[in-house]
């Protein structure tokens, strides 16, 4: 283990640390929002497939309802990109 205390750290080390934290933050933004989309979509998707089994022409509506929570992960991605690149 390398023991770095803030007082002894060089400017480069602090910057590298910050970069790492930003990367972790970006990862969390995408990962957590991805899980959230998944949880939301699994229930809708199951119900949509059930509805489609009854009436096949509901495919369009089912698809729309299923992908609505997908926007959550896009938000996560936008936040991640803003963190990493701006």
């Amino acid at each position: 283990m390398v023991d770095i205390s803030i007082a002894d750290a060089t400017v480069e080390q602090i910057l590298a640390n910050q970069k790492g934290l930003i990367a972790i933050g970006a990862g969390l933004a995408v990962g957590l929002s991805g899980i959230a989309s998944g949880i939301a979509e699994k229930d809708i998707g199951a119900a949509a497939v059930g509805a489609m089994a009854e009436r096949e022409e509901l495919f369009g509506k089912g698809l729309i309802l299923t992908v609505i929570p997908e926007t959550i992960v896009i938000f996560g991605l936008v936040v991640a990109i803003l963190l990493l690149f701006l």
């Binding site: 495919f59 698809l63 992908v67 926007t71 896009i74 991605l77 936008v78 690149f85």
Partner: protein, 652 residues
């Protein structure tokens, strides 16, 4: 183009004697959508099917049951059969087929029953064959009761317990299939006492078959017979598949002809009739109306009267008007995507032509790679040439459109399978060597790419550009919605419900521009006032709940950044595969080169499959969720002309 085909309501009226001929004529025309007559009055009643109807539908039922038995599937035929000759030989051929099939079926049933019996016998004989007794010895006694069956537990215990009851008995055990089999001969009067003991050891009786002889020999005989039956069943299956190939054309063609006959014979059920006349309510496309009227005049002179009704005067509900698309051939494949959602209403805008541009555009922005574009183009071309199913053909054409758009964006992004085509990192340099003329040429070409999708500086530009595309697309939706609302609810509602959103966006845009100091500071106040005006208009139009809708303008716009995001993930995967292969595997040489090629092939195949699915679904979603919700209702009825498109037969 942007509207469904214009149709008119028409009324046909004539003498009942001419009904058959009229049906024949309408069927030939194949462009008249008949409206079912449902409300019977004292004067008008629903028509009756013609006499051939029940005969034809009986034949059809029989034919379909045979077709079901033989497992006939719909297929493409390029050799249509003649209707007349087919009808002439129909009965004879049908009898022939019927008797052949019923013979096979009967024999199959007999054999299947026999094999079931044999299996039961085998099941019973197998444990008994372990004992040295003939089968007939297990039955036919007056004073001795015989038991044979499976039993669990230690046989010494069982034997002692039984011997405690009586010694006048004969017990044998044999191990069989992880359990024990017991045969027990005992005096009849002790049956109950012995049964109690046996039950404690989970005794389950074996049925003694009514046979005579050595069980082992019997078993061998049954096994032989079983094999014989199985091979006969196999030959029966072969005979069935032979019948299937021989009669498949006949069955498909007859099914078609009989369907047409029943369709014609049963259509009077949709007409109104009085004692001597018939009345047909129907929809005819405007461009065909004159033709229909002319044909009726030519064939019936003035005995059948046809007239156009005014839609406005008759107060027909829009949802009852059948909708037929009116798009150029190029746009037709997009109608599949429309139908997947819902057919437009008659008075609504039909957005097929708009998604003809935006769907491939979005797809191309997302995938944007020369290599994948060429692969998809080839797949699309093959699909278009090979696929004959009406349902799937448009999808192949759609794939071609999308791959062309992908190719264009691939050139703009200068990417080929995730490699750079131009600039200092060009793949040409790697392929042809550091100092090759071609490599120098490609590495010195700087006009492209317009955007480097994995470059640090360009990603924010891509994000903003895609959000702006979103703004344009959404506002196009609002304008179309404005037009639809004007037609259905008038200008005031249209302005309040749709233009309010545009005003709101304008306000936000002004405020943002002045915040970044592109315009004077006063823009902030002006923007806020304009945005507020938009909100007030919206609340006036849609009520207070509209406030809940406000954030959707942000989420909808940001949703378009998926155009950048999905693209990034696709480039990302391609880039990763390429890095693994060129950076890690190839430099090691030897077997690793082979491994590298495999990784390259598998990686890019997976990415191609993802490249069809992900951009396809996301491009579709942007249409359905973001775009259509701004203006589109759908729910139109399909224009379904009375007629039949023949596939397996021809009339003359």
């Amino acid at each position: 183009m942007l509207k469904p085909k214009k149709v008119s309501m028409a009324l046909l009226l004539g003498n009942k004697k001419l009904l058959d001929q009229a049906v024949e004529t309408l069927h030939d025309l194949n462009c008249v959508h008949i409206v079912d007559f449902t409300e019977e009055t004292d004067f008008l009643s629903i028509g009756r099917p013609t006499e051939v109807a029940s005969d034809a539908s009986n034949k059809l039922i029989k034919l379909r049951s045979l077709s079901n038995f033989l497992g006939i599937k719909q297929k493409y035929s390029d050799n249509p059969l003649n209707e007349k000759s087919l009808l002439n030989e129909f009965d004879a051929k049908m009898d022939e087929l019927d008797s052949a099939v019923s013979k096979l079926l009967e024999r199959r049933n007999v054999l299947e029953n026999e094999i079931k019996n044999i299996e039961i016998h085998i099941h019973d004989l197998q444990p008994l064959s372990l004992f040295p007794l003939n089968i007939e010895m297990y039955s036919g006694y007056k004073s001795v009761s015989v038991r044979a069956g499976y039993i669990q537990g230690d046989h010494v215990d069982i034997e002692t317990e039984i011997k405690n009851v009586t010694t006048k008995c004969d017990i044998s055990f044999c191990a069989y299939n992880k359990t024990n089999v017991i045969t027990l001969f005992s005096p009849v009067e002790l049956t109950n006492a012995i049964s109690e003991i046996l039950e404690r050891y989970n005794f389950s009786e074996i049925h003694i078959p009514e046979l005579t002889g050595d069980p082992e020999k019997l078993l061998a005989g049954f096994n032989n017979r079983k094999e014989d039956i199985q091979s006969e069943l196999e030959s029966l299956e072969n005979a069935i598949s032979e019948l299937q190939t021989r009669y498949s054309e006949f069955i498909l063609a007859s099914d078609e002809i009989l369907s047409i006959i029943t369709q014609k014979a049963e259509v009077p059920l949709r007409f109104a009739t009085s004692e001597n006349t018939f009345i047909i309510d129907c929809w005819i496309p405007d461009d065909q109306f004159d033709n229909v009227a002319q044909v009726i005049k030519d064939r019936f002179n003035t005995s059948i009267f046809i007239t156009k009704l005014d839609i406005e005067k008759e107060e027909i509900k829009t949802e009852n008007i059948p909708v037929e698309y009116d798009n150029p051939e190029l746009v037709k494949p997009l109608e599949t995507i429309m139908d997947l959602y819902s057919r437009p209403m008659y008075k609504e805008i039909d957005p097929s032509t708009i998604i003809f541009i935006t769907f491939p555009l979005f797809y191309g922005i997302m995938l944007g790679d020369i290599g994948y574009a060429l692969v998809l183009l080839t797949l699309g071309m093959i699909g278009k040439a090979k696929i004959r199913s009406e349902g799937l053909k448009p999808l192949a054409t759609l794939l071609i459109y999308c791959s062309i758009s992908t190719l264009i964006f691939g050139i703009l992004f200068a990417e080929i399978f995730g490699f750079h085509l131009f600039g200092p990192h060009t793949v040409v340099l790697e392929l042809f060597g550091e100092h090759s003329a071609l490599g120098e040429m490609f590495s010195n070409f700087h006009a492209l790419p317009i955007l480097e999708r994995l470059g640090r500086e360009d990603i924010p530009i891509l994000l903003i550009a895609t959000a702006l595309i979103g703004v344009l697309h959404l506002n196009m939706g609002f304008l179309l919605g404005f037009r639809n609302e004007v037609v259905s609810h008038g200008v005031k509602v249209a302005v309040l419900e749709k233009i309010s959103w545009i005003v709101l966006q304008l306000g936000i845009a002004l405020a943002v521009l002045s915040a970044f100091e592109y315009i004077p500071v006063v823009g902030k106040t002006v923007g806020a006032v304009v945005a507020l005006l938009g909100v007030v208009m919206l609340i006036a139009g849609e009520g207070g709940a509209a406030i809940l809708e406000l954030p959707s303008i942000l989420s909808n716009t940001l949703s378009y950044t998926r155009l950048a995001a999905v693209g990034l993930s696709s480039v990302g995967i391609a880039f990763a595969v390429n890095e693994i292969v060129t950076g890690m595997l190839f430099p090691k040489g030897g077997l690793f080169i082979l491994l590298g090629i495999i990784v390259l092939l598998v990686g890019h195949t997976i990415n191609t499959v993802l490249g069809v699915v992900a951009p396809g679904l996301h491009a579709l979603r942007l249409q359905y969720v973001e775009f259509f919700t701004k203006f589109y209702h759908g729910g139109g009825r399909k224009f379904d002309p009375f007629g039949y498109t023949r596939k397996y037969t021809e009339e003359k």
